[in-house]
C-alpha cells in the first residue's frame, strides 16, 4: 500500500469515528486505532523510502483543487499524531467514560475525532486556503475538547482565553497566507526558496505559529488551557497541537527565504521560553499547570535548535546547523512522548483523587505503584537524564552549539549563553520534577482523598506503558530513529541531504544500554543484600520527635522556595500571611500563589486600556438622529476634500 492509501484509510476511519462514534464507544475506539496506526505506517513508509507523496485532486474545494503532500517533514508530525492519537483514544475510554461523564463523553469522542482529522489536514495540506480552513476547524474542535467539563467556571475561562488567543494567531496566519498568495499569485504552497522578496512575511508566521506553539511571552493561553482540559486532551494538546505551531515555523522557514535576523530571534525566544518556562513551573502548586509550563520550556529547547539551524543555513549551510536541527526535530518526538506520558499520569492521579492540587496529595505510590513508576520514568526523561530519550535530543542540540562555538562561527557568541542557560534549564527541570514526584507520590498522604486513591485500570495503564516504552526505545537505540530525522532535515534544507548520523550517536546508544543493564543489576544486588541482612520498619527519623504527622512534611512551595526566590522578579508571587504574634498566638497562616505574570501584568491591563478607549469612541453612538446626519455631512465633506485636493482621479 502506498502512503496515499494508508492516509485514505486513516481519514475514512477518523471520519467514521466523527460521525458514528457518539453512541458506540467500542466501534469508535477501533476506528481511532485503525486511523492512528494507518497514519503511523504512512509516515514510516515515507521515512523508509524517502520519496514524498504528493496528490492533487481533479475537483476543487472552495474554488481551489485539493493539494496534499506527505514529505519527511510532515511525516515527523503525522507519526506523532498517529501514535499519540491512538494512545489518547484508548486512555479516554476509561478516563472519560460514558458512565462517569454522561453529559460530555459522547461529544468528547466526536470532537476528538474532529480534532485528529483537522490536525492531519493541517499537516498534509499544501494549499494556503485549505490550510487555513483546517487550522480553524482544529482550533474550534480543540476549544470544545478543552471545555468538555464546562460546568466549572475556571474551565470556561480557560476555554475562552484559548479561543481568543487562537483567533489572534488565526488573524496573523490569515494575513500571512493572504499576502503569500497575493505575492505569488496562487494559494499553492511549496518550496519558494528563490523568492527573496517574501522574506519579511516570516515575521507574521512567527507571531501566528508562535502563539500556537506557546512561545514565551505569547504563551498566556497555554497553562490554563492545559490544566483545565481533560487529561487525555492535555496530552494531545501538549504532544501534538502545540507542535503544529512548531511545524508551521519549521515548514515555512524551510520553504521560504527568511530574513537574516530570523534565526537569531527564534534562538533568543527559545532561550527565554526554556528558562522562564521552567521558572514558572517551579512556582506552581497545580500538577497539570506545572506540566503545562514545562511544555513552554521544551518548546524553548526545540526553538533553540531550530534558531541555530536557521543561522547556520544563512551562513553557507554550516555543518553544525544540521546537528541542531536534528536535535530539535528529535526533541519534537521526545517531548511529545514523555509529556503525554506525564499528562496521562497526572490524569490518573486526578482520576483517583479528584484533585490536581499537589499540597493535598502525597504518598500515592502505595495505592498507585504503576502510575508512580511511569510518572517517574517520564520525569527522568524530561529532565534529559541518560539513558532515556530526552538526553539524546538534548545531546544533539548541545553538540550543534558546541561545534558552532569551536568553529568560531557567526553564531558562536550566541552559543555561549545558549549552552549555559540550557544547562541551567536542565538543572531547574530536575529540581521541579523532584518536587512534583516527591510531593505527589512519596511520603505520607496529606489528605483523605489521597489516602483513598486507587490504581488506574488497564485501559489507562496500557497507553502509559506504550509511551514509556517508546521513551526507553529512543534512548537505547537512537540510530534506529535517525533516518527519519535525517530525511526531515533534508526536506527542510536540500543542501543537507544524506545527513549521516554523528558517529558517537551509536556509542551513546551502547552506553545507554550498558547503563540500563548495570543499573538493573545493581538495584537487584542491593535489594538482595538488604533483604539478607534483615529489614525492619520504623517511623521516619524526625530528630527524636515521637508523633510526626503528614502535615509536617516538606511542601511543594517550601521545596521550590530557594529557586522561586531567585526568580521573584518575574514570577511576582502573591503572598498572604498572618504571622504568629504575642505570647499566645492565635491563628497563623501562610499562602503563596504564582500568577501568570505576563497575562495579569501585561495582557489584561492592555485589554482594559483598549476597552476604555473603545468606551470613549462609543460616545459617538447615542441615538440622536441630528448628530448622525451631521456625521454623514462631515463624512461627505471629508471625502469631497480628498477628491478635490488629494490629486486622485
Amino acid at each position: 500500500m502506498t502512503p496515499g492509501h494508508l492516509l485514505l484509510i486513516a481519514a475514512v476511519a477518523m471520519f467514521f469515528g466523527l460521525l458514528g462514534g457518539r453512541g458506540a464507544p467500542r466501534l469508535w475506539l477501533t476506528a481511532m486505532l485503525v486511523g492512528g496506526i494507518a497514519a503511523l505506517l504512512a509516515a514510516i513508509q515515507v521515512f523508509v523510502s524517502g520519496a514524498q507523496w504528493d496528490w492533487r485532486s481533479e475537483f476543487s474545494v472552495c474554488g481551489e483543487p485539493l493539494h496534499l503532500r506527505l514529505d519527511a517533514m510532515s511525516a515527523v508530525f503525522i507519526a506523532l499524531l498517529g501514535a499519540l492519537g491512538g494512545a489518547g483514544s484508548v486512555y479516554s475510554c476509561e478516563y472519560w467514560s460514558d458512565k462517569a461523564h454522561p453529559r460530555s463523553a459522547r461529544a468528547g469522542r466526536m470532537w476528538w475525532s474532529a480534532q485528529l482529522l483537522s490536525l492531519g489536514l493541517v499537516l498534509l495540506s499544501s494549499n494556503g486556503l485549505h490550510f487555513l480552513i483546517a487550522w480553524e476547524l482544529y482550533a474550534v474542535s480543540s476549544y470544545f475538547l478543552i471545555t468538555l467539563d464546562r460546568q466549572k467556571r475556571e474551565v470556561r475561562a480557560a476555554g475562552w482565553l484559548y479561543l481568543a488567543a487562537s483567533h489572534v494567531a488565526g488573524l496573523f496566519l490569515f494575513a500571512f497566507f493572504a499576502m503569500l498568495a497575493g505575492r505569488t499569485g496562487g494559494w499553492d504552497l511549496g518550496p519558494m526558496r528563490d523568492h527573496a522578496e517574501l522574506a519579511p512575511l516570516f515575521w507574521l508566521a512567527l507571531f501566528g505559529f508562535g502563539i500556537k506553539a506557546g512561545m514565551f511571552p505569547l504563551h498566556v493561553w497555554l497553562p490554563s488551557a492545559h490544566a483545565n482540559a481533560p487529561s487525555h486532551v492535555s496530552a494531545i494538546m501538549s504532544g501534538v497541537s502545540i507542535k503544529v505551531g512548531i511545524y508551521g515555523l519549521v515548514r515555512f522557514s524551510g520553504w521560504l527565504v527568511v530574513p537574516a535576523a530570523a534565526g537569531w530571534v527564534v534562538a533568543v525566544l527559545g532561550v527565554i521560553s526554556a528558562v522562564l518556562g521552567v521558572a514558572f513551573a517551579l512556582g506552581q502548586h497545580d500538577l497539570k499547570r506545572l506540566l503545562a509550563y514545562h511544555s513552554i520550556e521544551n518548546i524553548g529547547i526545540i526553538l533553540i535548535g531550530l534558531g541555530f539551524a536557521m543561522i547556520a543555513a544563512g551562513h553557507g549551510n554550516a555543518a553544525w546547523g544540521r546537528l541542531a536541527l536534528a536535535g530539535a526535530l528529535l526533541h519534537v518526538w521526545n517531548h511529545g512522548l514523555f509529556k503525554s506520558l506525564l499528562f496521562l499520569g497526572a490524569g490518573s492521579v486526578v482520576h483517583a483523587t479528584g484533585t490536581r492540587e499537589m499540597s493535598l496529595l502525597g504518598g500515592l505510590w502505595r495505592a498507585m505503584p504503576w502510575t508512580a513508576g511511569l510518572f517517574a520514568l517520564g520525569a527522568a526523561a524530561i529532565c534529559g537524564l541518560p539513558p532515556l530519550n530526552g538526553f539524546v535530543s538534548e545531546w544533539l542540540v548541545y553538540l550543534g552549539l558546541f561545534d558552532s562555538l569551536i568553529a568560531h562561527s557567526a553564531a558562536a557568541r550566541a552559543a555561549v549563553p545558549a549552552v549555559v542557560l540550557l544547562a541551567m534549564t536542565g538543572a531547574l527541570a530536575l529540581a521541579c520534577f523532584i518536587k512534583a514526584c516527591g510531593v505527589v507520590f512519596l511520603g505520607a498522604a496529606r489528605t483523605n482523598a489521597s489516602a483513598r486513591a486507587h490504581e488506574c485500570g488497564p485501559m489507562m495503564r496500557g497507553p502509559m506503558l506504550a509511551l514509556a516504552g517508546s521513551c526507553v526505545a529512543i534512548g537505547l537505540a537512537p540510530l534506529v530513529f535517525w533516518p527519519a530525522v535525517a530525511r526531515a532535515a533534508s526536506a527542510w534544507n536540500p543542501a543537507w541531504a544524506g545527513l549521516e548520523a554523528p558517529p558517537s550517536l551509536g556509542t551513546i546508544g551502547v552506553a545507554n544500554v550498558a547503563l540500563t543493564v548495570i543499573a538493573i543489576a545493581a538495584v537487584s544486588l542491593l535489594w538482595r543484600r538488604t533483604r539478607k541482612n534483615g529489614l525492619r520498619r520504623a517511623l521516619t527519623w524526625d530528630c527524636g520527635y515521637a508523633a510526626p504527622s503528614a502535615r509536617m512534611q516538606y511542601t511543594a512551595g517550601s521545596f521550590a522556595g530557594i529557586i522561586t526566590e531567585w526568580f521573584a522578579w518575574i514570577l511576582r508571587p502573591l503572598r498572604h500571611r498572618q504571622i504568629p504574634d504575642g505570647a499566645f498566638p492565635a491563628d497563623a497562616s501562610f499562602e503563596e500563589h504564582t500568577p501568570e505574570t505576563v497575562l495579569e501584568q501585561l495582557i489584561e491591563p492592555a485589554g482594559a486600556g483598549a476597552l476604555q478607549v473603545a468606551m470613549v469612541a462609543r460616545r459617538l453612538q447615542h441615538g440622536r438622529l441630528q448628530a448622525y446626519l451631521l456625521y454623514i455631512v462631515l463624512g461627505l465633506a471629508a471625502l469631497a476634500a480628498v477628491v478635490l485636493f488629494g490629486g486622485g482621479r
Binding site: 545531546w395 518536587k435 517511623l539 527519623w541
Partner: protein, 302 residues
C-alpha cells in the same frame, strides 16, 4: 575481551581508591586541630561494617528508597569511567562524552534526591531542596568550565579537551572548578559534613533515614564523586597528559593528594557560610569560569 578487562581494572581502581580521600581529608583536619583523628582507612572499615548491617526502613519508604542509591552509584561509576586517568585516557572516549558525564552527574542527583524524599521527613526535604537548587548554579559553572576547555582545545571529547590553558586562564579555571568541587561534594563552606544539626545539612540530611547497605552505597558514591572532581580539576588545570606515562601517573596522584589536603585546610580554616551566601559564592565560581572562557576565546581568535 581486553577492552572488557580494561574496564574492570579501571573500575577496580576507582572503587578501591575513592574511600581513601575522606580519610586523608579527616587526617588533615585532625592535624590542623592538633588531634590524632580517625585512621586514614576509616571509611573502608565503615563501609565493610555497614554492608553487613541490617536495615531500618521508614514505614513510608517505597522500593525507590533502595533503588535510588543503587542507580545513583551506577551513574557515578559510569561518569568516573568516562574521566581520562592521566596517560591511560578514558574507558570510553567519543565526541560529546563530556556532556554524558555532566548528565550522569545529574542522574545521580535525581536518584539521591528522590530517595531522600521517600521518607517524608522535612529534614530530608530541606536537604534535597538545597541540593537541587544549588546544583543549578554549580552546573552553570561546570558547563562554563567545559565550554572554556572545549574552546581552548577545539574539541568536545574529554580525552583531547583536557589540554589545559596556561597562565591566567589556568588560574581562573582552577579557582572556579575548586569552588564547584566544594559545592558539588558538600564540603565547607557550602555544607559541613561534620555537623550534627539537621537544619544546616545538605548532603548528610538527605541520607538521614538510610542505614545498612544503602547507606554504604551512598557513602561510597560520594567518595567516588569527590575523586572524580579531583581528577577532573587536576587534569583541567595542569598539563599532566603531555608528560611521559610514569611521570604523568605520579603527577596526577600527587596533585589529587595535594588538592585533597587543600580541601582539608579550607575545611579547617573556614566556617560554613550561611545559606544566603552560598548562591553568591557559586555565582563567583561561575564568573571565574566565564573569564577563563573569555581568555580561551581571545587566545583562539589570534
Amino acid at each position: 575481551m581486553t577492552a572488557f578487562l580494561e574496564i574492570i581494572l579501571r573500575l577496580a581502581v576507582w572503587l578501591a581508591l575513592a574511600p581513601l580521600l575522606p580519610g586523608i581529608l579527616n587526617k588533615t583536619k585532625a592535624w590542623v586541630a592538633g588531634r590524632r583523628g580517625p585512621p586514614v582507612l576509616q571509611l573502608y572499615y565503615d563501609l565493610a561494617r555497614l554492608w553487613r548491617k541490617s536495615v531500618v526502613l521508614s514505614t513510608l519508604a517505597s522500593p525507590g528508597f533502595i533503588a535510588g542509591p543503587a542507580v545513583a552509584w551506577v551513574a557515578l561509576a559510569a561518569a568516573a569511567l568516562l574521566v581520562p586517568l592521566g596517560p591511560a585516557g578514558g574507558a570510553l572516549s567519543f565526541k560529546g562524552d563530556v556532556l554524558l558525564l555532566v548528565y550522569l552527574l545529574a542522574a545521580a542527583r535525581f536518584c539521591t534526591a528522590w530517595a531522600a524524599l521517600e521518607a517524608g521527613s522535612s529534614f530530608e526535604g530541606m536537604g534535597a531542596a538545597r541540593e537541587v537548587s544549588y546544583a543549578v548554579l554549580s552546573e552553570a559553572a561546570l558547563i562554563t568550565a567545559v565550554l572554556s576547555l572545549s574552546v581552548q582545545s577545539g574539541s568536545v571529547t574529554l580525552g583531547t579537551m583536557l589540554t589545559p590553558p596556561v597562565g591566567a586562564g589556568a588560574a581562573l579555571l582552577a579557582a572556579g572548578l575548586f569552588a564547584v568541587l566544594l559545592a558539588e561534594n558538600c564540603r565547607v563552606p557550602f555544607d559541613d559534613p561534620n555537623t550534627h544539626l539537621e537544619l544546616t545539612m545538605i548532603h548528610e540530611a538527605m541520607a538521614l533515614d538510610h542505614s545498612g547497605p544503602p547507606l554504604a552505597v551512598i557513602l561510597h558514591g560520594a567518595s567516588m564523586k569527590l575523586l572524580l572532581f579531583l581528577v577532573l580539576l587536576s587534569e583541567a588545570v595542569l598539563p599532566i597528559r603531555q608528560l611521559p606515562a610514569f611521570t604523568a601517573s605520579a603527577a596526577l596522584a600527587g596533585t589529587v593528594l595535594s588538592v585533597t589536603v587543600g580541601v582539608g585546610l579550607v575545611e579547617s580554616l573556614l566556617a560554613r557560610f550561611s545559606f544566603r551566601r552560598v548562591p553568591l559564592l557559586l555565582t563567583t565560581a561561575f564568573l571565574l569560569c566565564l573569564f577563563a572562557l573569555l581568555l580561551a576565546w581571545k587566545g583562539g581568535a589570534q
